[in-house]
Symmetry: C2
Subunit: 278 residues, 2 copies
Amino acid sequence: MKKIESVKEFGGWLNRYEHQSKSCNCTMTFSVYLPPQAEHEKVPAVYWLSGLTCTDDNVRTKAGAQRYAAELGLALIMPDTSPRGDDVADEVERYDLGKGAGFYVNATEEPWAAHYQMYDYVTQELPELIEAEFPVIPGVCSVTGHSMGGHGALICALKNAGQYRSVSAFAPICHPMVCGWGEGCFSNYLGNNKDSWKQYDATELVKAGAKPIPLLIDHGTGDEFLSGQLYPQDLLDACEAMEFPINLRMQDDYDHSYHFISTFIGEHLKFHYNHLKA
Amino acid sequence: MKKIESVKEFGGWLNRYEHQSKSCNCTMTFSVYLPPQAEHEKVPAVYWLSGLTCTDDNVRTKAGAQRYAAELGLALIMPDTSPRGDDVADEVERYDLGKGAGFYVNATEEPWAAHYQMYDYVTQELPELIEAEFPVIPGVCSVTGHSMGGHGALICALKNAGQYRSVSAFAPICHPMVCGWGEGCFSNYLGNNKDSWKQYDATELVKAGAKPIPLLIDHGTGDEFLSGQLYPQDLLDACEAMEFPINLRMQDDYDHSYHFISTFIGEHLKFHYNHLKA
């Protein structure tokens, strides 16, 4: 692991690292924000999973999350959204498949399977590295994310009972099996047997009996992708049917951008803080 | 004036406009953040002047200022850093001259004079437009900015006693006449007679007896441009000699980036709020 950038912010340090990923079989980049409290004690960690086209840079630059992380004493862990490199399969003309669009699944189909193992990366390899190398409290973490990364946060939490204390999401893709973004990635990464898709679909995971975990979701009513890609009602219906507690809020007029995220990231981090400190 | 973008953030609206500028003789773009309070009352305005290479987009995306503006009930006015358009003179191979580098002066030399009238634009034309079109309290405003825009904020306030209630700056170019960025722009925009440069130099304006105004400046000790371009000590010396009150803070380890700005923008906006509400 090599530190490639270090910037002071809100009394803590925003650092960027490169490392050789076993899961993704390539060099991966991630950012970590360590709050001032981490200089003298271990702190809880919140993982942020980003959306389509993003790297680790978008959230660290645009979300305004570091201010709240510094106030609350939380580390922020910000991975990339896909494997990278010249030998990594891609669809250069599409923003929603290949690089920048890993969808947080383990690909089984060629040419993707060689590197697109983002599910293992974000749920196993990266947490192990973070706990070994940084002043975080082992096993005390939560997960959140935006859009494709909101989907990622939901499936990571729903598939790994006990690994996360809480989960939240901004404008998540709630039912990827039935939306264009999800179908495009799942059919390429996982093949045409839709049964294999259900393991990476939040709505299907709830229907299949996932164990409840504190869950907060915000959607904007002005989000251009709300009706065509995100399908929050499907997740709500599944939660109701399964008596799975969910706090899903529709925020008037907010869109899909980081301006929406910046408005509510403070509430999300306080939500996670309350569960991480409990 | 035409609204070209509108995004909800922190309960208010972040809007972007185009208009035909008389000063700059071209179409100019600016952004305005209106806090929620502006829906039912007029609010004070804080002008933000950006640094080299920026447009109005950098600060609205990266600084985290809207959160504080919403809390305090301040409008943020964010102009571009130069005239734009195909017929506007430029040095395409330089980031520090021409487009993106207007330096907040009125150019007198060709080929710049036809459009590079940023001083008139930010001190006269834009405030008149803002007061005519937006719910701001006439004559109740402050000014701040970053780097080249910190220089801009300082000269706008020092040259126009009574126009602004307070001024602040992040990593401003304090003595442009003696640094590479300033010399490059002043010699092109204003010609070789250095006497004409002094009217746009904060250190020289203080030496010449500018009227005191509440003034807050932050510099980072880790700023790569601190010793070669910014020269805060020159401004401090001038202020001491002239008994001009200044609060110039050196912030340990912070750099020149928006991560530095985001850390202290809240304090700057509260500083302005205290003078705007007084």
